[in-house]
């Protein structure tokens, strides 16, 4: 019963996603490009796609000693593991005092605690398989006020699923009090679907449930027009040439001064985006598989998406 309904809508399940899309279109050898955020950043810069500026990084424990001088010039910054996944190990510092750091959730941490966080990252606490990792220090995004009414702390980011270079489905991930300012759905953030053709928000998903208002601000999540939507779509579509991954999730953040910046690329994007959009991925994927060969450049691909994937 429920199976038939889901397959009528064309909801994509994990087994099918793994077998037909990630296994088939994402060659294993390309994974390091997206698993290492530093590598992704370098690739993007080479391709002329904007990313948050890299302030510095630590690769060996020794470098943590000189952390003070490295961080001194920056009022605010973000620390993240290069091989982190699912948003773990990310620390957002919004202010430096004399010897304390104020996190985005207003918690103060000492220099020692920050050092320990760095060394945890280096030992591979947050990396896949626990292998040694690098800690990146980068520009803290000054996010565009467009989502102010429906966001709590943190940086809302826009996830666009790109299949064979064509944007398929999109949502904006809004931090909540529950997610402690993080934009990852499993940490409690909400996802709000975006109409690919218009660039306006639809309804949202928290957990596995459909929601209409932001749980903390109470404002309706739908109907927000995202500025520069065409640019966003083009940026995401260009990531296909960047990584070569046929099926990927591109995470973009809107900076109020710098415009869209690519945060990271995911080779196995989650499936809850379907709940946020109240639509299944399958029909769109099938349509793309039938037509993608005729589309030669980014403009055509984005136009195809805007024509076919409206809500």
């Amino acid at each position: 019963m429920i199976v038939r309904k889901l397959s009528n809508i064309g909801v994509l399940g994990i087994n099918r996603r793994n077998a037909l899309y990630t296994l088939q279109y994402n060659p294993r050898k390309l994974y390091p490009l997206v698993d290492d955020k530093l590598l992704t950043k370098q690739l993007a810069l080479k391709a002329g796609i904007a990313v948050p500026k890299l302030y510095g990084m630590a690769e060996i424990q020794r470098q943590i000693k000189d952390l003070n001088s490295l961080l001194k010039p920056y009022k605010d910054f973000v620390v993240k593991p290069a091989h982190g996944h699912g948003g773990v190990g990310i620390m957002v510092i919004k202010e430096q005092t004399r010897n304390m750091y104020r996190q985005v959730n207003d918690l103060l941490i000492t220099h020692e605690e920050l050092k320990h966080h760095f060394s945890n990252i280096l030992t591979g606490m947050y990396s896949i398989g626990g292998s040694p990792d690098k800690a990146l220090i980068e520009y803290r995004v000054q996010f565009d006020p467009v989502f102010n009414g429906i966001s709590y702390l943190g940086v809302p980011d826009i996830r666009i699923i790109v299949f064979l270079g064509i944007p398929v489905m999109s949502m904006v991930r809004l931090p909540t009090r529950l997610s402690e300012g993080k934009a990852n759905l499993h940490q409690g953030a909400i996802g709000v679907g975006i109409d690919i053709s218009k660039g306006t928000t639809l309804t949202g998903v928290q957990g596995n449930d459909i929601i209409y208002e932001h749980p903390d601000t109470g404002n309706p999540v739908s109907g927000v027009l995202i500025p520069g939507w065409e640019d966003l779509l083009k940026t995401s579509a260009r990531c296909y040439e960047l990584t070569g991954l046929g099926y990927q999730g591109v995470d973009i953040v809107l900076d109020k001064d710098l415009g869209p910046l690519i945060l990271e690329i995911n080779a196995r994007p989650g499936l809850n985006i379907q709940i946020a959009n109240r639509a299944g991925l399958m029909p769109r994927m099938d349509l793309i598989e039938n037509h993608y060969k005729k589309l030669t450049n980014v403009d055509e691909r984005v136009a195809f998406a805007r024509n076919n994937f409206g809500a």
Binding site: L6, S7, A19, T123, H186, V205, N208, I275
Partner: protein, 509 residues
């Protein structure tokens, strides 16, 4: 990529597996059902008493191997006692002794007894010397009239003993017998009197004591029966019916007119005997298969391996079954577990610990390990030393648990040592990271998922019939492989996804 390729592969795997299976059952006549089954009992004697701060000596009769049962293992638990075993008068005895000891004392004897499937012929013994008992006055008259009575109504020794037991079992009919038995005619007393009467008549006889081996019983009572020397061996007589040969479940323990336990230097002696049956399959192909011994399927079968190696494969061959179950649970049901095959390894450990104990011990070890791990978090250790520390703590925890449960007398607790500690350590580490990253709910959910998956895998792997089938017909594993390969191409929804996406199934408002 090619669908037909997959189907041809799985079909041929299944075909080969079923083909060999059919050939072995139809032409080589391998039994599809397990045949030989030997029973094994655990026997425990628990002796408790209060010592008076004086030298203590406890002696206990222990069973010995007979033609029907053999003692395959035994151990004694007695802290601070000296221990000697003695063989006297056809009995085995252990003597615990201590110079100065005080307070509540508990001593254990544990034996493992196996039923011998094919009874050996009993060995011949020399006719024992008889020490004729002395009767006086009315007792003498009673004994003599009883002997005359049973002599007259029997044809040989066997019927005579039967008649004696019959007479003694119903003492109310005969005043002579009532006199001999006295007021409290227990079974033991009856047997003792019967032995005395026979001895007086010049027939070697003795009372032996034993227990009935049952499925499971605590606080077992002893049974007593008569053994009479006949031709050149001791014959047992059923104390109820008087017939020769006692029921098969009688285990001979000791003989003679002595109590089971003798205590010197203490008081409040209490003895509890318990018995538990554990069935063990012995996978043997015997009899009719021997003629077709030249078949390669017999020549190159697992049965040709040494017994210990066979035992290893008996376990290893269940792993494919466990992984098959796990594939179903993960890819079709949608269980979330720590590590891909961790539940199978835990399930293997459950084989020794048994399910309930396994779950309890697993929860204790992981729970304590987690709390230690959270403590270590404060010390800000680097990853590898931290993992190593948790591993050391896990091993210490396992030692502690074993010692503690052993002291309390819970034998199952010892089996905690069989848990794969590295797997447990990794589970603790991953669980604590998950705990921090996604909260307690998610961590506990995955922990519970792992435990449930392990339980289900264990329950399936523990089906005795499947164990037999896969050991005798290892080719059936090919069918499992085919099934697993097929499931690798199951692209449908997982059962858990139905609830995940149920908001979508409702459609737009």
């Amino acid at each position: 990529m090619n669908k037909y390729h997959l189907y041809i592969l799985t079909l041929s795997l299944t075909f080969i597996g079923l083909g060999i299976f059919a050939y072995k059952t139809v032409f080589l006549k391998f039994p599809i059902m397990p045949q030989a089954r030997s029973n094994i009992w655990d026997i425990e004697v628990r002796i408790s008493f209060i010592a008076h701060d004086t030298p203590v000596k406890v002696s206990l009769f222990i069973p010995k191997s007979t033609t029907q049962y053999s003692i395959i293992d035994e151990n004694f638990i007695s802290r601070g006692y000296g221990l000697i075993t003695k063989k006297t008068g056809g009995n085995r005895r252990i003597i615990w002794s201590a110079r100065k000891i005080k307070g509540d004392q508990i001593l254990y004897y544990r034996g493992v007894v196996r039923q011998i499937s094919e009874e050996e012929p009993s060995s011949t013994v020399k006719r024992p010397e008889i020490k004729k008992p002395v009767f006086e006055g009315p007792y003498l008259i009673a004994v003599e009239s009883l002997i005359t009575k049973i002599w007259n109504s029997s044809a040989d020794l066997e019927t005579m003993v039967a008649e004696l037991i019959k007479q003694i079992s119903t003492p109310q009919d005969d005043s002579n017998i009532s006199l001999l038995l006295g007021k409290q005619a227990t079974l033991l007393k009856k047997m003792e009197v019967a032995a005395k009467v026979l001895l007086y008549a010049g027939i070697p006889a003795k009372v032996v004591h034993g227990i009935r081996l049952q499925e499971f019983q605590r606080d077992i009572q002893f049974v007593h029966w008569l053994q009479v020397f006949e031709k050149d061996t001791w014959q047992s007589y059923d104390p109820e019916t008087g017939e020769q040969d006692i029921p098969h479940d009688y285990l001979l323990w000791w003989q003679g007119n002595y109590p089971l336990v003798h205590l010197k230097g203490g008081g409040k002696l209490q003895t509890i005997i318990s018995v538990r049956l554990r069935k063990e399959e012995t996978h043997t192909i015997t009899g009719q298969h021997k003629q077709s011994n030249n078949s390669p399927f017999i020549k190159y079968s697992l049965f040709t391996l040494p017994i210990e190696t066979q035992a290893v494969y008996n376990v290893l061959l269940m792993v494919p079954l466990g992984t098959f179950v796990l594939v179903i649970l993960r890819n079709i049901v949608g269980f979330k577990t720590f590590g891909t095959f961790m539940p199978v390894l835990i399930a293997l450990a459950f084989r020794e610990t048994r399910l309930l104990w396994g779950i309890v011990l697993f929860c204790i070890v992981v729970g304590l390990g987690l709390s230690i791990r959270f403590y270590l978090e404060h010390l800000k250790l680097l990853l590898v030393p931290r993992l190593a520390s948790v591993l050391i703590v896990v091993i210490l925890l396992m030692c502690g648990l074993s010692i503690l449960t052993h002291q309390i007398g819970m034998e199952r607790g010892l089996s905690v040592a069989l848990f794969p500690m590295v797997i447990i350590t990794m589970t603790i580490e991953r669980m604590s990271i998950l705990w921090e990253e996604r909260g307690a709910a998610e961590a506990l959910q995955q922990g519970l998922g792992s435990l449930t998956a392990a339980t289900i895998a264990y329950l399936v792997m523990n089906i005795k019939y499947l164990q037999y089938l896969i050991f005798v017909f290892p080719e059936l594993t090919l069918i499992l492989l085919a099934g697993t390969v097929l499931m690798g191409r199951y692209y449908g929804y997982r059962i858990s996804e139905l609830s995940r996406f149920k908001a979508l199934a409702k459609g737009k408002p």
